[in-house]
Amino acid sequence: MDTSFFLAWIKEAATAVQAERDHLTQLDAAIGDADHGANLDRGFAAVRQVLADTPPQTPGAVLVQAGSALIRKVGGASGPLYGTAFRQMGRALGEAPEVTPADLVTALEAAQEGVQKLGGAAEGDKTLVDAFAPAVRALAQAVQDGANLEDALQTATAAAEEGARATVPLQARKGRASYLGPRSVGHKDPGAASTALIFAALRRAAGPA
């Protein structure tokens, strides 16, 4: 995976977030404050602008620039959390011009660690971690088992989507939905839903299904 692969991922993610903007906002209206889709859409638009203005030369630079733009433009909790995820991935990849599937796993593990450290959420708290963590685990396993990139990312995407669906019966313990107590049960977490979109975008960056 080279720089253009990661640029393609960002583009796919931006397109997906834009297409699902209203859906994410509706999920957020149920248990949050009805702005997740709008905020992420604004953030990814800013990311694409930054990447167009100062084209990065390495995969790591793509991700660090993307993360910084999200932190600067999104606000709310999702800006710092997604921003940190992309920045940590980028830092983990360093200056390398090519990324192996094993490198990608390491980078995503660093991203997950950064998000959990910043937000303090564990799996089961009904946050984006509930989609992120199983996706990273599934990817690591698939890569270790020798799956090709497309299949490994397909497995990761399926795990993220399943993780997001599994937030429905959970009671939120972090973020704004936690104020609702038991009333947060029965709704999909918007952050987990957007994380699943971003993993699906990563899968599409690897080529047609």
């Binding site: 404050d33 009805a34 606000g75 800006g79």
Partner: protein
């Protein structure tokens, strides 16, 4: 949705234009989205910076001025501002005595202010932070993001702002801000939800016979829903929640706050019930504010905030203030 806006995307920018036009005592940085006192920074004075999502006006921009904040940064509607804004605001107001960040306890606000404080330290600006978390509706702190910051934010900004004007050092201003927060409790009730412009419809639906108890200020639903009833009984539900958390006694400062869509007439009716409740508990509202101060767009309803006063807090509350939304003594 029927709103007095030009476009959904321009809401914050257009609001700032209006604020700049209405208040010559303020300076608005449109690019960074910061509202400053016109003559900031003040050398040797601890500076107060707050910020939060738009939609809560007059919080925070309406509290920028003598005796309160030095700068405020509005985010998008109900979305915390970004670190760049807070850093810019802190740089713009630092008069060498340090900057106090007043942060309402929401995950987004906390994360963005934390990042800003770290980056300010890198630039040599001394920053202390106080977290406001006065909302008793959020009960179980171990299993939630913790209590929300609501009406007591106004108390913290006013009282800490008054102390800062006396030339008190940063640590002392921060300590007092913390004390005001610890002495304050709030509870909110909604008769209807507000409409976030980007969503275009109310964030939750309440029928004519229902009210929502324990609401926050971002249109999120509350803890429970119950049947609508007389103002006296609704005031009692709210005050019971406050009193159950910390028994009310002695002299208090009360904010009877409208959520944005409720007439002052009704707010005064509720305030009358709140004052009677306090008397019944052997407490007294020796200072009060009734009106729309910490709003949630066009939500109908109120929140009540009570701060148990000390002589020092009463004196600082009475100290002169000159902002768009609060002004006395000057």
């Amino acid at each position: 949705m029927k709103k007095l806006i030009n476009s959904v995307d321009a809401i914050v920018t257009d609001t700032l234009r209006g604020v700049a036009a209405a208040h010559p005592s303020l300076r608005v940085d449109f690019e960074n989205r910061v509202i400053y006192r016109r003559n900031a920074p003040h050398q040797g004075k601890v500076a107060l910076v707050s910020g939060g999502g738009a939609g809560h006006e007059p919080l925070h921009g309406g509290f920028v001025g003598y005796g309160m904040l030095d700068a405020a940064c509005p985010g998008e509607v109900f979305t915390s501002p970004v670190p760049d804004q807070m850093i810019e605001a802190s740089k713009g107001v630092d008069g060498g005595a340090g900057v106090l960040h007043i942060v309402k306890n929401y995950t987004g606000d906390v994360l963005n202010f934390e990042m800003a404080a770290e980056l300010c330290a890198d630039e040599g600006i001394e920053v202390a932070s106080v977290l406001v978390n006065d909302d008793v509706a959020v009960q179980d702190s171990l299993y939630t993001a913790g209590r929300r910051g609501t009406g007591a934010t106004l108390f913290v900004e006013k009282i800490a702002g008054a102390l800062a004007e006396t030339g008190a050092p940063l640590a002392e201003v921060a300590r007092l801000a913390q004390e005001v927060n610890e002495r304050s409790r709030s509870f909110g009730v909604a008769l209807s939800a507000g409409t976030v412009p980007a969503a275009g419809k109310p964030t939750f639906d309440l029928s004519d016979t229902e009210i929502e108890l324990g609401i926050g200020i971002h249109g999120e639903p509350g803890r429970t829903r119950t049947t609508h009833r007389e103002a006296r009984e609704i005031a009692r539900l709210a005050m019971d929640a406050v009193n159950d958390d910390v028994p009310l006694s002695g002299d208090t400062l009360v904010l009877l706050n409208g959520m944005g869509g409720t007439p002052l007439l009704e707010l005064y009716i509720v305030y009358g019930e709140v004052a009677a409740y306090l008397e019944e508990k052997g407490a007294r509202a020796v200072r009060c504010l009734v009106g729309n101060y910490v709003t949630s767009l066009d939500m109908q309803g109120f929140s009540v905030s009570v701060c148990r006063l000390t002589d020092e807090l009463t004196r600082l509350w009475d100290a002169p203030v000159e902002t768009a939304a609060l002004r006395w003594g000057r």
